[in-house]
Amino acid sequence: MNRAAAGWTVAAGLAVFGLVAAACAPRHELGGPLDGLKPDELERFDAGRTVFERAFAPETGLGPLFNADSCAECHEDPVAGGVGDEVEVHVAAFDPATGACDPLAGRGGPVIQQMVTPALKAALGIDSEPIPAAASARAHRSTPAILGFGLIDAVPDTAIEALADPDDRDGDGISGRPNHFFDGRIGRFGRKALVPTLREFSAGAFVIEQGITNPDAPTEETIGGDPIPAGVDPVAEPELTAESLSRADDFVRFLAPPDRQPLSHEAKAGRAIFESMQCQRCHVPFLTTGDSPVKALRYRKVYAYTDLLLHDMGPALADICLGDASPSEFRTAPLMGIRLATTFLHDGRATTLEEAIRLHDGEASRSRARFAALTAEQRQSLLAFLRSL
């Protein structure tokens, strides 16, 4: 065999080996890290898990208002970073005449904490934060899985803007638009897409969910706008160090998305139905991340099944306004990992995927009508596809 022939033989062998290796590659452990993290990034991921799972007590800063004593108390099922059964309360005041939205930030909003420390109860005799009298609506928010959200964080703003069609110029009845934070940046996290970055979401969550101040969110929540009584929260601010905050951020950012399941024949048919129903106009199958100092987050496809835009979902689902989002506008929920969910929609009111689809309205009303027109077999195919995500 000459040298050229030998080279081709080796190349062909390597190609076959590669295909076999890919087919036999172990699937990701749910709740594990992204592929391709460097050793120091994996160390930060592991260190961050400890912070994510750390249970705080009043002596270590918990409260005095809080919803949970750790991140993992809510994002727990079936792994840290997964879904949870906690449902929290948000409020806002909306003026339909002017479209003005007040998140009631000066009166304890928009998140109303459901628990208090013994010291706060002793001081004020309350069991939860009072609902501000100025609230025009209250909302319930279920706990979503956050697996793979680091990839969503790494999607450039320009990719979100490119999907927007605020004036419905293409006439398809779907007119997504981005939300913006109060400083004008494009938002993407939260059911109303208010929060621009995952780190800000996490830093803010430490305060609003656990009452744990940190360098990025250094002040405690007020109690309906009133300051915390003296002596109730003696732990000095910030109650979480910059190092711990960064590690928690690393853990969440580096969580791998759930593997999509191999598609059965039925699920393949369901995928075609998903597309024919135009679901993918909002639940865009994948987004591509931009540049990142972390190679594992750089220029990757993330099969999130969302456009990260706000869409009008109709009056029946409407609750609070937030930022630019009107009461009936919600960010397209990522379907990535939807098979892990046990309740659906922003408030968990739907107990099945089928019920959730039937509750779509507004811009999704045409897709809902198409779903209603499917045969029982076609519906099962569609649900099989969704359960593969």
Partner: protein, 123 residues
């Protein structure tokens, strides 16, 4: 030590004591120049022109905060790049405020609007 020298020494001690007290008094009152200059960007939620105060929504994630700023006559206010009076500022505008840390209301050194994002399709 002569009486003259003793008087001079007492004068020095007195001056030193005065300086120490003066420095501490300055720190306690927090004169604006002693306070750290900070900057924040957020949405104007309220304007009290008589009190020359504005409220701005800022925050981190869903931990939203309302910051109150006092804009006295020395505060430079720019609206769309043009110097303007406080009465020309409107609720809902996004502003960058440079201010001195300290107890609220914070003392604003400058307030400048930034372009509002495109909110076409507002419902």
């Amino acid at each position: 030590m002569s009486q003259h020298e003793r008087a001079a020494q007492l004068a020095k001690v007195g001056l030193a004591a005065f300086l120490v007290i003066a420095v501490h008094a300055g720190a306690a009152t927090g004169t604006p120049d002693d306070l750290e200059l900070k900057q924040t960007t957020g949405t104007v939620s309220a304007i009290e022109t008589d009190a020359r105060q504005i409220s701005v929504i800022t925050g981190c994630g869903h931990a939203l905060r309302v910051m109150v700023f006092h804009a006295d006559a020395a505060c430079r206010i720019e609206i769309d790049g043009v110097v303007a009076p406080l009465t020309s500022l409107r609720r809902g505008r996004i502003v960058t405020v440079r201010y001195r840390s300290g107890p609220e209301p914070y003392i604003a050194e400058s307030i400048a609007t930034i372009p509002s994002p495109d909110v076409r399709g507002r419902r």
